[in-house]
Amino acid sequence: MTGSDHRPYGLLAELTYRCPLHCPYCSNPVRYPNGAELSTEIWQRVLVEASDLGVLHVGFSGGEPLLRADLAGLISAARAAGMYSNLITSGVGLTLERARELKTAGLDNIQVSFQADEALLADTVAGTAAHALKLKAIEFIHRTELPLSLNIVLHRGNIDRLEKLISFAEMLKAERLELAHTQYYGWAFKNLSNLLPSREQIESAGRIAAAAQQRLQGRMEVVYVAPDYFGDRPKPCMNGWGRRHITVNPVGEVLPCPTAGAIPGLVFDKVSEHSLRWIWERSDAFNRFRGTAWMPEPCQGCEFREKDFGGCRCQAALLTGDPNATDPACALSPYRSALDERVLGARDGWDSGALMYRENP
């Protein structure tokens, strides 16, 4: 089933579900899979197998990957296997000593999440007093000369502060700033009515981000991840199912996308039972939505079918109950009204008291 068009470039290594933060838009599953966290030895094998499949960059994520004591060793293993490594972290728990250890291990980039530009709102969103600890982490990152990216998830509680968020990232001397609209799966889907911005807020944010990209060109890269619910075309999710990306979750299940666990009826093979190559080439989960043969109408006859790949399977499953359906983010989807109802049903204000916070396993 896999040809030259199917070659993984990226591996997301989710090392643990444990996290000191409780963000209400977390992409981790609402119901965690059973099983113990993978051992260091299995992760080392997975990294080598990923490299042999063609993977060129690894994102170490979680939960909070700093909670794994073997993190630096795994970064070294990725480097030794010829892969670029990025650490996706809250920053909470980073010490100067740990930053030096990660840098020495060969870490190429560190991506720190921020919830807001000021502590009160940030800590409300994180569900814990994390903001001050993150600022300490940034100081250690600069002292270690690790390249810094910031990721700020946008929602109704912080979108009106976008200019301040961008200035904040400049002040922290980030080399890259990702302004990512909340993706409404998992915890975020539970909180959608409280997180989804209005169309006016989205349009204003798009203009502010575009101006910042122009103004900061050459100094700070500003990446604006567009929202799903307000456009006419769906995102080309994962650049095609089972085509470019592999996620390995903390218990060793291998998924074509980080949130695929939310799709009913999919069974994920485990790295403790199969090689990564076997799973990539032969597993049912990776083959289920490869290519275009699985597509229903209107995707099947659509000129965009090999551009957006029918959109996002998780979103189709969440909004229509059918993971085979055209992504309702597409204006051509017969289920578009399911999405438009969510947009109209969102509240006007921001009620932080109504947030459902992410829980640890």
Partner: protein
């Protein structure tokens, strides 16, 4: 998931600009093709032989003019052509934030 970068125009580096690869990017060998690639957090750029030669000279010391002169000598090619191709290629990578330069 996907991200979209809105269009931004990038100026060309001048002959006196000193280019270097972004600290967030690294040249690696692609195990599948055996060819060099420039890898960053979110992107993989395949490098042909000329591209790899240009980046090998982007050491934060040489100017664009010096890089072009060395390549023109190596390739026995006209300096003007190599200069304009080198500038255009570096601007393309700068647009992707994989290369930057000081004037």
């Amino acid at each position: 998931m996907s991200d979209s970068t809105l269009p931004v125009s990038t100026p060309l580096p001048g002959l006196d600009s000193v280019p270097k690869i972004s600290p967030r990017a690294r040249i690696q060998s692609d195990k599948v093709t055996g060819k060099p690639v420039l890898v960053s957090q979110e992107s993989v750029v395949k490098l042909n032989a000329t591209a790899a030669d240009i980046l090998a000279l982007c050491d934060g010391q040489r100017t664009v003019g010096q890089i072009a002169a060395e390549l023109a000598a190596d390739y026995h090619a006209p300096l003007e052509t190599i200069s304009s191709n080198t500038s255009a290629y570096l601007a393309k990578l700068a647009h992707l934030n994989l290369v930057n330069w000081r004037e």
